[in-house]
Symmetry: C2
Subunit: 710 residues, 2 copies
């Protein structure tokens, strides 16, 4: 993964002052430890604790937590300095203070919000200041990412702060191996790094490494278990709190709070109550007392993640209550401890009758949740999948995200590549997420990224505005006990990119570039090749799998590989209605399911009309003949033939490009990627040939280019 | 299951002489025990061991093992009688001997071959004689099946003997739960009754019940483990022989020998040798010594069942050897102990490229094995699936069965309902098996049943001919630890029918009638209703699932429920090539894969021509337009529409019929069948609607009857 020892060489070879003390807590101590390890490895010097002015002034780098007004230290006659802060009387202070003051001027006097940091070059010295330990950690890693230039360049200054208050990874890890889903549901990188045989692992070394990696890119929340909560996992909330505490201890030093997925039926199944009705006082008491015990064990516990009334998970519907009742039940138990409920909006009828053309799964979240807008407590975050269906390669963004102005929202992405190649295919998802986050969903032009961050209309992205209390960006993690963490080594880039986009970075290519450098070093050939493999890989994957917004043409159950009608006659609400004449789902208001009506202007009209609907979503919104001519000028069927053939050819080129850098990256890394690219080539060929054959058999229309159809 | 206590009332209420002794072995003892239990329950008397002539003459029923010439007892001045036999000097002997002599005359002096028995009414007494203990057991149960009439009717006589020397059930039981296939591969009735957690169960009570049931219908061989031999099962041959011995001890008293499925790679994987090459002397020694140890532990061990070079199982191909080399390797190790190898002919390429239209899985067994005819040792039985594919609802019979005159053959059927409703659907398979067994496959008109029994051309089915050394009928068992043994209680009838057809019964309706009486008693309403549900159920299932010989339109993996293209683009060789114009596989010599050429006359020509090919196999052998007119006068597409609608309607009628007998059968039995019929109705509706929709979407041709297509 990223952050090999070598990445800390520039910092580690210098004299570094970390101006924190024992009272600054474990995250500050992590900054000290990182610098200590780096300087000890690369010949530099760590200066910390009580220091003389001369020592301080001799430092090349200063990392300091500053006061609320930006002052270095707060000592006065009446107020002693916080432990570890440089005392104001120190002769070194004015120099640092001048830098800090300069930063503050450039930062327009912003108070130091959580996680915020400033990074400056001044007078030949590099200074990182932050208002809290997490900010200092993030500043440290920004320094690491920037490498030697940040320690040598002329004067420069940057302020940075996270756009999303919560930057969360949900692990769909089962504590025991599930007979169908395995240990990690939709996991493609081995077993869980947390759990083994129902309990937390004895050896948490890898968890500590993982926590360090996540902390380095600003992740600050981790869900420890699958949102599908089975009997074994339900006991984490009660009998196995010590397991949760052990993991919390490992994540805490990296600024990460842990969350549990809980079953809404816990009062029944674990508590022995006769009901789990959210309006029942006994149930409320049960949750209050369960939560109290959690906080006694894990004082900085984050809260709950809940999948309720969804795909068989229990929920408030069983008691005639709605999802606001359900979410608020848990929220009120968590409120005294500042805990948060992440309540998933992924609620739909998974026993749909495929014969019923009037029901549209795409409508479900909006139908269920928008009537509840304003009814959720302040510590409820509604967690909405980015699209109305389920993590497809291409979906429109969910209209729910712009439809609940009085509700805190988090947008959920999927780092684990369920429908996007299962970490067998090299698919860099940064561009997909970037498109989603910058999509101007709201009527006033606000983008999904801003909406999820909860920023008010027209807010400038960074800078002096307060970080809003709402929002967050959440993703399902892709990590397992595989030696490369993510199965496909290049899939590490997705984990990295999610964190960086959740922080607020806006350029997925630049983020990928960061990841390459931090992981594989500075070899320009390697950099160029990894870009060649990954830059367009999501669109390449889309070409050979998901034509024009059609999803779910995958093998049922495991979701890998092509199966045109695999989900066509199922209860899952996932149809394309391809017949001998045409394909696609009519979701218009005029003649279809009316889903377009859930969007604000202009999208309700853009999507409604075949004339204005973007090609890439045409079949998501419309059923058209195979001979329909796209904006691109080609017909639907020829587009399908072309993209599947071209997509495969592109995979061949990706594999060929990769083969050119053997010897320039670690051999095991090279070999694993090579093996996965071979599988991707095999699989892409299946996708190409099966879809081309299946649609030729249906349509009877030949490929105008004359390429072979089997 | 069949054989409740009540079934033995007629016998148990009488005075019964069992003329066997301790030296006649455990099967004879089972006859004694059965009579003892019955008489003790129903007020009769068991007479056995040393008896006075008066005692003997007072008996209503006599069961006796007779000598090779039919004499009762063998005592002479120079030769003492075998223990337990009635001594010749006994005044009772002449009366019994007269009956026996009469039987022998009627039986044209046939020597008493294994399992043979005679049953007669004579002078107000009922006599069963057999040449061996197994025959006596079978005669006893024939008496039980016939019930009171056989004990009261005027003089009557019947000789019976099994058509097939080996009547075998293969259990596809894993000793440990397989992560994908579960404990019983293709099992639909719970876990294994043999195995638990890798070892034989402590409590073998249910195994003893099962053995008794199988013995009562003449099953004489049981394979104890899955033909897919995993690591745990491979050790049955070595480390866990004591487990095999415990099961053998339970089966032995019922005339049943046990067999093990073994891995061809055992010398490598278990033996630690560097090769499993069948021509390697070290490998030969390893097998010889492994087999010797088996027989030291289980002296009447039956032999091996082997799936080699098939679906990933190891085999002789890895060493450049053929299947005769492979089978003979094991046969030669078993020969000194009279053991037998059942070597499966289920060998095909399961990594086929669906793009390749020249390869035809249906050809595979014939292509692989017929060149080896004559090369197999005498104690090798080639086990051939009844059809060229894999246990589909409708296939032509396998041409291999008539193509290897110098090889002992067993025909393999499937009692477990893998592709035929998985014991969720009521499907009585007797009529399918009957069609298969009586199919005149050979050029000289011999039927599959005779061929598998190895009888020479023109042999009369029963009577005075010697039972041939070759052949056998084998089936995959359907039994698990479910309370009704087979999941669907009515599926018990299939287990029963297989055994009775393997014995030589020829009328599946009569066999079903036997099963109903033995299981549910004599209520005429029950009898009529079960017939109404089951008699035509196989053809009903065919109607709503498998049109005109098309198979494999099932969900991949578990094989339950419809999926038109589920196996269309897979490596499994299972295609129908349905497009917008037509459907079916061209297997002709003229324009297709040439599979028709594997048949002897007349079938090579009957199947070759669309004009003569039977409707029910049309799409197995030919690709035709949807508008092709069948012999029945309807088009292919209208046939598909009609049969799917009619099949569903028939299921509704079945469920309705069943509901009429509540209160007349045990309630738990009634409830379980009711629940399964509801599932069958749901599933049949899916089959109906999905296939009608899918083929309407493809063909664009409306249902002429105007019924709804969704």
């Amino acid at each position: 993964m990223w952050l090999p020892d070598e990445a800390l060489r520039p910092l580690g070879s210098r004299r570094v002052l970390v101006a924190v003390g024992p009272d600054d807590g474990p995250v500050a101590q992590t900054v000290v430890d990182e610098v200590a390890a780096a300087t000890s490895r690369f010949g530099g010097v760590l200066v910390t604790g009580p220091v003389t002015p001369e020592d301080a002034l001799a430092c090349d780098v200063v990392l300091a937590i500053v006061g609320s007004a930006g002052q270095v230290g707060t000592a006065s006659a009446t107020q002693p300095p916080p432990a570890g802060y440089l005392p104001r009387t120190d002769s070194y202070v004015p120099a640092v203070q001048a830098v800090v003051d300069g930063l503050l001027v450039l930062g327009r006097g912003a108070p130091m919000s959580p996680g915020m940091f400033g990074l400056a070059r001044h007078d030949g010295r590099t200074v990182v200041v932050a208002g809290d330990a997490a900010g200092l950690l993030y500043g440290l890693h920004e320094l690491v990412r920037r490498g030697a230039p940040a320690l040598t360049c002329p004067d420069d200054v940057v302020w940075d702060l996270p756009v999303h208050q919560v930057r969360m990874l949900d692990h769909w890890d089962n504590t025991v191996v599930h007979p169908v889903m395995g240990q990690v549901e939709r996991g493609y990188a081995g077993g869980s790094i947390f759990w083994s045989d129902g309990r937390v692992r004895d050896d948490l070394t890898r968890v500590a490494q993982y926590a360090r990696l996540l902390g380095s890119v600003g992740i600050n929340a981790v869900g420890l278990n699958n949102v599908n909560v089975h009997a074994a996992e339900a006991r984490l909330l009660t009998d196995h709190l010590d397991d949760v505490a052990r993991l919390a201890d490992v994540f805490r030093p990296h600024g990460i709070r842990v969350y549990l997925s809980v079953s809404f039926a816990s009062p029944l199944t674990v508590g022995g109550l006769p009901t789990a009705d959210p309006l029942d006082p006994g149930v409320q008491d049960w949750w209050a007392s369960a939560v109290r015990r959690v906080y006694e064990t894990v004082p900085d516990f984050g809260g709950f993640v809940v999948k309720a009334d969804s795909e068989g998970q229990p929920g408030p519907f069983a008691y005639g209550r709605d999802h606001a009742d359900g979410a608020n039940l848990l929220a009120r138990a968590l409120a005294p401890f500042s805990g948060t409920v992440f309540w998933r909006a992924f609620v739909y009828d998974h026993h749909q009758d495929w014969r019923d053309r009037s029901t549209d799964r795409a409508r479900a979240a909006h139908d269920h949740f928008t009537p509840l807008d304003g009814r959720f407590d302040d510590n409820v975050v509604l967690q909405v999948k980015y699209g109305p269906m389920d993590f497809q390669t291409r979906e429109p963004v969910s209209p729910v995200i712009a439809a609940m102005p009085r509700t805190r929202l988090a947008v959920e992405l999927q780092v684990t590549q369920e429908y996007t190649g299962q970490q067998q295919h090299a698919v860099y998802l940064g561009p997909q997420w970037d498109e989603i986050l910058r999509f101007p969903l709201a009527e006033d032009g606000r983008t999904v990224g801003y909406l999820a961050a909860g920023l008010p209309v027209g807010t400038v992205h960074r800078g002096d505005d307060p970080v809003p209390p709402a929002g967050g960006l959440v993703a399902v993690s892709s990590v397992g006990d595989d030696e490369f963490w993510t199965g496909h080594p290049l899939a590490q880039a997705n984990l990295y990119a999610f964190a960086r986009l959740a922080w607020g970075e806006e350029d997925p290519d630049a983020v990928l570039d960061e990841w390459i450098g931090l992981t594989l070093g500075d070899d320009p050939a390697v950099r160029a090749t990894v870009h060649a493999v990954l830059d367009d890989s999501w669109r390449t994957y889309e070409r050979y799998t998901a034509p024009l917004g059609v999803g779910f043409m995958v093998r049922p159950g495991h979701h890998y590989g092509p199966d045109v009608d695999g989900y066509e006659y199922t209860p899952w609400g996932t149809y394309h209605f391809a017949d001998r004449d045409g394909i696609g789902v009519d979701r218009t208001r005029a003649t279809g399911t009316g889903f377009t009506g859930q969007y604000a202007a202009p999208w309700r009209d853009v999507y409604e009309s075949v004339e204005t609907c973007p090609d890439e979503l045409l079949l998501f919104f419309h059923h058209v003949p195979y001979t329909h001519v796209l904006h691109s000028g080609t017909t639907v069927i020829q587009h399908l033939y072309d993209t599947h053939a071209d997509g495969y050819d592109e995979v061949v080129r990706m594999a060929s490009a990769w083969s050119s850098i053997e010897g320039r990256v670690p051999q095991a890394f090279f070999d694993r990627v090579t093996q996965r690219l071979a599988e991707q080539e095999r699989s892409a060929r299946e996708w190409r040939d099966q879809l081309r054959s299946a649609f030729f058999r249906r349509s009877g229309i030949a490929d105008a280019t004359g390429r072979t159809i089997y």
